[in-house]
């Protein structure tokens, strides 16, 4: 038996013993384990499962054990993932701290910062949000104006952030702030701010889908200790770019579609329900062609994600990966929902109440939400600029 076989056997036994039965069922959205100071657990098993997994560092399997992570190798982490899938175990913790901030801290933060913040993230004690965009700095992110003035023993922060995900429910915010107004990219720093500090206020923004996943966050005379600066002063843009790559990779996965109602397998079945069958075929030839085209695009994209993963494993970099996947994945996702509207007709246009089932209503809201996918995390146009510049080497104007 190899070490990995032993690891698999032990992991399987531990999961069998420690994963509560209700954590092996599909997760309703309201039970998503975001963690944080104000976390509520409508299902108490969610908390038990989080604590047990965090005690082994398995909410962040590959982070070093000294910072609370699992300290697993890539192979071990894959086995853990496989064993969790085997019993349909839910993810124990959903967190921007895990997905975005943590990897950046591991790379850029001081030893004290790693010790303080990474453990809190692993255990789901602190819920983080991202303070990047501003009303005047969207696609041109480096044009941000939120100012952090050096006041000797602290920074005084003033400004406004926008599109801060779930800021109204978060505990801390990682922010890009301007520490030098005489230069653009080289005047930006990366600062961590406790949302409980006086002067921080978050207001939810209502989207066209009716949901409010984002906020405006106002920062007025906020006092931030100097030790909350990550990396060097005025070198925050380097950290920001790295974080954006993590974010783009995360969002591009949406192109692969969620499970359930709107999943790929469902599209042709829905088309047959709505337009009838001619032999095995979708009876309406225009819809059949559109569905087929879409499924072929989807499969080509899935194969490209697989190839990128295989190449990464083989130690060959697939240059443009993050921007290309963000661009193609989000555009594909938007096309998918537009096609679902064509397939479902007026049944995809209900807002709430009688006449529409839960699946239909969920597709409608997801269609509206998908419009944001090609805007958030850098618009499609920005991704094309990034590919043109960094991959193709086309010159700036």
């Amino acid at each position: 038996m190899t070490d990995l076989d032993t690891f698999r056997a032990e992991t399987r036994a531990w999961l069998e013993e420690n994963c509560p039965e209700s954590m092996r069922t599909p997760m309703p959205e309201r039970e998503t384990p975001w963690g944080g100071r104000n976390a509520d657990f409508p299902n108490p098993d969610t908390k038990i499962w989080l604590d047990r997994m965090a005690s082994r560092g398995w909410t962040a399997p590959e982070w070093p054990a000294e910072y609370g992570g699992g300290g697993l190798s890539k192979d071990e982490a894959r086995i853990l993932q496989q064993e969790m899938s085997r019993i349909n175990a839910r993810t124990p913790l959903a967190s921007f701290g895990l997905w975005m901030l943590g990897p950046a801290l591991l790379e850029f933060a001081s030893e004290e910062q790693k010790k303080k913040y990474l453990g809190e993230i692993v255990r789901g004690e602190i819920r983080w949000c991202q303070g990047y965009s501003e009303p005047g700095a969207g696609s041109d992110l480096a044009g941000l104006q939120t100012k952090a003035e050096d006041k000797g023993d602290h920074y005084l922060v003033n400004g406004q952030k926008v599109w801060t995900s779930y800021a109204d429910q978060c505990d801390w915010i990682f922010c890009l702030v301007r520490t030098d107004s005489s230069v653009k990219h080289d005047g930006i720093s990366f600062l961590l701010i406790d949302m409980n500090t006086p002067g921080v206020e978050a207001r939810p923004i209502k989207l066209i889908s009716g949901a409010s996943p984002f906020c405006e966050t106002f920062l007025t005379d906020v006092v931030v200790p100097k030790e909350n600066l990550v990396g060097e002063l005025n070198k925050g843009w380097t950290i920001a770019k790295r974080l954006l790559e993590h974010e783009r990779t995360m969002i591009s996965a949406m192109g692969m579609g969620g499970g359930g109602a709107a999943s790929m397998g469902g599209m042709e079945a829905m088309a047959k329900e709505n337009f009838g069958e001619d032999g095995d075929k979708i009876a309406n030839p225009a819809i059949r062609e559109a569905v087929t085209n879409h499924k072929m695009d989807h499969q080509a994209f899935a194969l490209t994600l697989k190839r990128a993963a295989d190449e990464a494993k083989a130690g060959q970099g697939m240059g443009a990966a993050a921007s290309m996947f963000k661009y193609y994945g989000t555009e594909l996702n938007k096309r998918r929902f537009e096609l679902l509207l064509d397939v479902m007709g007026t049944q995809a246009l209900g807002w709430e109440g009688e006449g529409f089932d839960a699946r239909e209503l969920s597709i409608t809201r997801s269609w509206l939400r998908s419009k944001g996918n090609s805007i958030e995390g850098g618009t499609s146009e920005v991704q094309l600029n990034v590919i043109a510049k960094r991959v193709l080497g086309l010159p700036d104007a």
Binding site: D280, L303, M318, A320, M324, L392
Partner: protein, 379 residues
């Protein structure tokens, strides 16, 4: 299997790339065209290809080949596509060797495969009868007459038909056009009595022919595979051919994209490099994404063939359909982004554009394969 090349396959690619770049550049095709070559291919180049082992790349070593399999074949075709190399690889090394390997008797294999690997035998597949690929629609008849078979009918778009020594003819021993059953394959000497081969001149300056069969009598033992049941073997080799053409198309679009990108970085208008214009940058970036997707679907189709996966037909149709669309987009953009010189014969863009349209029609265009993909998926 991982969608990455092995070390051995990477070496093969590097060797093929160097060979086609140095020995068979695009000027080779221009020369054949401008000198109105009677053969339509360069015999010296073919001899080199034979010596490199590419002619027998599908054929096992014990029958004189190099046995690199479908991925190896695809790699060579991709590099050939990059320089528009006009060779009998498709007609002979892929379809000829493939069909004899799949359907031939032991005697046929022992006789013919070493000749193909050794460059002594050229073959051509006589399949199409209309302007659109559709194997089931074959109407040409093959009537049994004692121990003879009498072939009557007309074939078109027979690639390398006028240089082939042997034709592999698909004809009907029973059933009617539209039936999958009843098709048979025959090995017919190109010089047999009643066979008339007429070379056709296509836009891509590559070899194709019309072939008519006027009561051609051949011995029954020249059938390739059992009578009336050719469809399964034929389709499996057509899928190999389709994947290889998709690989060749991939090489073509990569060449067009690279050349166009280089032009965007060097051409100046309004006092600036035109590659600084966002209208062109975004189109270049979109083409880049398309090339990446094409690389994935081609490698997956070749891998499916290599591993004899049961989803070969779908993987192949995905690749052939996508490459058809991508080659149209990228060859058109290549001409457009080159501006005035793009529409002249002086630059190579037009050669790639013309070749892309012929490749797209070979063994089924995008519409054919999109429809097939849907049918195989049960919708």
């Amino acid at each position: 299997m991982a969608l990455v090349l092995t070390e051995e396959q990477t070496m093969l690619r590097d060797m093929a790339k160097q060979f086609f770049t140095e020995q068979v550049p695009v000027t080779n095709l221009r020369k054949l065209r401008d000198e109105e070559s009677a053969d339509g291919y360069d015999k010296a180049v073919w001899q080199q290809i034979v010596e490199l082992g590419f002619a027998g790349i599908l054929i096992p070593e014990e029958q004189g080949g190099t046995g690199f399999g479908p991925i190896g074949l695809g790699i060579v075709m991709q590099e050939a596509g990059r320089t528009l190399a006009a060779t009998p690889l498709y007609s002979t090394a892929i379809l000829g060797a493939g069909l004899i390997l799949a359907a031939g008797s032991d005697g046929q294999k022992a006789e013919l495969l070493p000749q193909i690997a050794g460059g002594e035998l050229l073959t051509a597949l006589a399949l199409e009868e209309t302007a659109h690929h559709n194997p089931k629609q074959v109407a040409m008849t093959a009537a049994q007459d004692g121990d003879q078979i009498i072939l009557s009918g007309q074939k078109n778009f027979v690639i390398d038909g006028h240089i082939a020594d042997k034709l592999i003819v698909v004809a009907r021993t029973s059933g009617a056009a539209g039936d999958a059953n009843g098709l048979s394959m025959f090995l017919v000497d190109a010089k047999a009595k009643g066979v008339t081969v007429t070379r056709t001149h296509m836009v891509d300056s590559r070899n194709a022919a019309m072939v008519s069969f006027d009561k051609v009598s051949i011995p029954a033992h020249d059938a390739l595979g059992p009578l009336g049941a050719a469809m399964a073997e034929l389709e499996s080799v057509l899928d190999l051919g389709r994947a290889c053409i998709a690989a060749e198309m991939l090489g073509g679009i990569e060449a067009v994209f690279d050349t166009t990108l280089a032009y965007l970085k060097e051409r100046k208008q309004f006092g600036v490099i035109i590659g600084t214009f966002q209208a062109l940058k975004h189109r270049a970036a979109e083409m880049f994404c398309e090339v990446e997707l094409c690389q994935s679907v081609v490698l997956d189709a070749l891998s499916a063939l290599d591993e004899r996966r049961n989803d070969v037909p779908r993987a192949v149709s995905l690749a052939k359909a996508r490459l058809g669309d991508a080659a149209r987009l990228i060859s058109n953009e290549g001409v457009q982004m080159h501006g005035g010189i793009g529409m002249t014969d002086a630059v190579d863009m037009g050669l790639y554009l013309k070749r892309a349209r012929v490749q797209s029609q070979l063994l089924g265009d995008t519409n054919f394969h999109r429809s097939r993909y849907a049918e195989l998926g049960g919708y």
